[in-house]
């Protein structure tokens, strides 16, 4: 019983989480964060686990810059 209820409960929560992620995606779109659904949901999960958002945002920014820089470097060299 307990296991069953546990599973059902978890499922419901996941469904609701999806709803929340949709909302957050809308917000993200308004704010032009440039995050896609997948990335956003990863971020949401990370945040839910209590990760410092400041650090996370800086990581994302650095990663983006790194990609762009690398792309640019590739462009330059080619």
């Amino acid at each position: 019983h307990r296991a069953y209820f546990g599973a059902a409960h978890r499922k419901a929560r996941v469904l609701r989480n999806v709803g929340s992620v949709r909302l957050l995606f809308e917000i993200s779109r308004i704010l032009n964060t440039g995050l896609d659904m997948e990335t956003l949901s990863i971020c949401v999960r990370l945040c839910e686990q209590g990760i410092n958002p400041e650090a996370l945002s800086s990581v994302i920014k650095e990663l983006r810059k790194a990609t762009e820089a690398l792309k640019a470097a590739e462009n330059m060299t080619t």
């Binding site: 809308e26 308004i30 990863i42 209590g50 410092n52 958002p53 990581v59 994302i60 762009e68 640019a72």
Partner: protein, 894 residues
Amino acid sequence: MASPDQKSPNVLLQNLCCRILGKSEADAAQQFQYAVRVIGSNFAPTVERDEFLVAEKIKKELVRQRREADAALFSELHRKLHSQGVLKNKWSILYLLLSLTEDPRKQSNKVSSYATLFAQALPRDAHSTPYYYARPQSLPLNYPDRTTQPAQSSGSSGISSISMYALNGPTPTPQSLLPGQSYQAAGVGDCLRQQLGSRLAWTLTAGQPLQNSTSKGLASTVCRNLPRSRREGDTTGSVEITEANLVRDILYVFQGIDGKKIKMCNSENCYKVEGKVSLSKSLRDTTSRLAELGWLHNKIRKYTDQRCLDRAFGLVGQSFCAALHQELKEYYRLLSVLHSQLQLEDDQGVNLGLESSLTLRRLLVWTYDPKIRLKTLAALVDHCQGRKGGELASAVHAYTKTGDPYMRSLVQHILGLVSHPVLNFLYRWIYDGELEDTYHEFFVASDPTVKTDRLWHDKYTLRKSMIPSFINMDQAKKVLLIGKSINFLHQVCHDQTPSTKMIAVAKSAESPKDAADLFTDLENAFQGKIDAAYFETSKYLLDVLNKKYNLLEHMQAMRRYLLLGQGDFIRHLMDLLKPELVRPATTLYQHNLTGILETAVRATNAQFDNPEILKRLDVRLLEVLQGHFFLSILYLQVFTRECMSHYLRVFNFLWRAKRMEYILTDIWKGHMCNAKLLKSMPELSGVLHQCHVLASEMVHFIHQMQYYITFEVLECSWDELWNKVQQAKDLDHIIAAHEVFLDTIISRCLLDSDSRTLLNQLRAVFDQILELQNAQDAMYRAALEELQLRLQFEEKKKRRELEGEWGVTASEEEEEIKRIKEFQEAIPKMCSQLRILTHFYQGIVQQFLVLLTTSSDESLRFLSFRLDFNEHYKAREPRLRMSLGTRGRRSSHM
């Protein structure tokens, strides 16, 4: 925790890296390691975990971008998200989104982001070439942990404006691009990595030793960068500091924490920039001005920290601390906003425009109002040091009398909070009569050792120091009285009527704001409330006393029995007691007297009195006073023991006077009865005459005294008392009126210490009367005996003559003559005795009159007129004549 949808953060991070870089896991390993380290080292967020604060910031940001519609949409979405309530760390994700946000106006640049980045790196290199030597102090590059701070470059005008323009402008400007282009082109990759590394170094908290990092890629560039910059810093010689560093330090100092360069200087008791740091005078000045805030904060903080733990500080003190805390919390909120601003700049680096950067000057302006607030608070703290309870409230109240409306509203707010407990005490007290003042803060103090019989007089007192200055003495007294009345009703009268019934005024719970309103608007609401409560309670108390305890009747009874108002009763009692009173006091017995008293009550109008009162009539015998006894009515506790003793003294005096009158009446009766009998003894007439004269003198004296006591003293005072009692609004008025009544009676009856000599004279007069009585009794006895013998002698003579014998024998004749002679010889003795008595008496009366005329009391002087209306004594006593004369003259002057 390890549920299927909750992967470990590491896995998620790896996913993230892969997605953003668009590479496989293996390729992204380097970036992943970097990400783990960054996140691992920045465990605790520096911003406030407040969802709404973040949401507000987002809205502001949107508005700033002129996207009001989107802002509305966002708040709608946020509301929905909030109502769902699934996510725990909403603030966190929102913050993340906010920090990732990008201005759509820059969207067009997105494609040329490389160029932007390029330009971003450029100014630093531009610095390093032509301007490096020109401005070594403001060189940002020297500081690896601050390279991207826009605030830093505000010191240098030309370069920063160019760089900023380059950063924010739609396209990179050619000027900035061109000169460095050739230089830059070669080492673009290196430069980029360098930039990334320097940022990373900052993210990894500045002081962390980076050498032991295991990562090779990004971290190695950091390692390369750091020592170089250090070295460059050293070459400039002295320790330099930029405004940005100062700003960061200042923000710490604001919270009372020593910054890196700005430290608390204990000797001067202020925050100071370390002496060896070279700094321009204006910056140093601004810094110290800003640092004052930290000092003020420390002061307030110290006070609240000290007091919060102190339980004995009391509720008022606690609420004061709470108010201070509230203010401090506001202040912290401001600081957190400043901090997050700083953080934001750090995060976004150069992306933000110059206009939003923090500078000391800006801080100075922004903290202007908080500084005034803190200053006021600090002044309050200083002023309130060592005070508690009502005193503290007074201290705060003193500060509301300022002309500055801003300060006034602040202090008034605090006053509202501080006075809230006082007000609670007050309402508890005036509506329920309860005093829950564990820390002695309220201005009504209760003495638990006082028993209920002294409740009204001694139990509750005003603590003068604790009366808040917004309550005046009159109100405080009323408040005291209201609660006292309620307690008196409850404890003494055992009247358990709930106070709400007593008081029609609706009792409402007062919020702190109301409290402040009440105290500032004293004329109307508060005064009205107190007055209403006072009026109702007192009225109820008086009603209870009158109806249930017959207070007024009891007072009348006091007057009637103790102050001899009930003439027939007293007269009858005296008649009945006469045989008892002539006996020495040792042979008097309480039970006999009680019996007599009861007889007297039954025989006179007293029997119609309230049985409740008659029950209280009792006879008490005081052994000390020969022949005098006390008739007392035991009373309600309202009238205290002291009161009772006053009554007894008055009664004693009145009883004596009454008794003198009674004795004189007896003497007069003797005169009348014996006058005819003794006519046959002409030799006695002189003595008798003398006796009559003296007696009538005494009668006159006593009558005048009686008149004076009854009409001038008792009736007048009684009438006054009665009027006052009828008009009395509370029990205190009645008690006061009663005390005044007793005082007047005592002083007018010459019982107070001032007129002791007068009283002694009066006593002497009374003694003379008693002596006269004795002398006259002896005289009459002798005279009557003589008369009897003479009559017997005559009768015998007659009987013998009838029998036909000789009326008298020679021996009998001789004996008779001898006896008559003896009697006649005794007459001068009586005469002289009377003369001596008269002499003494008149001496005493004269003395008395002299004292009366010099008395300050008007009514006593009038008494002297009455006693000496025909100037009989004045003619005999030169002193009297003189004093009367001077008085006459004085009065004519007046």
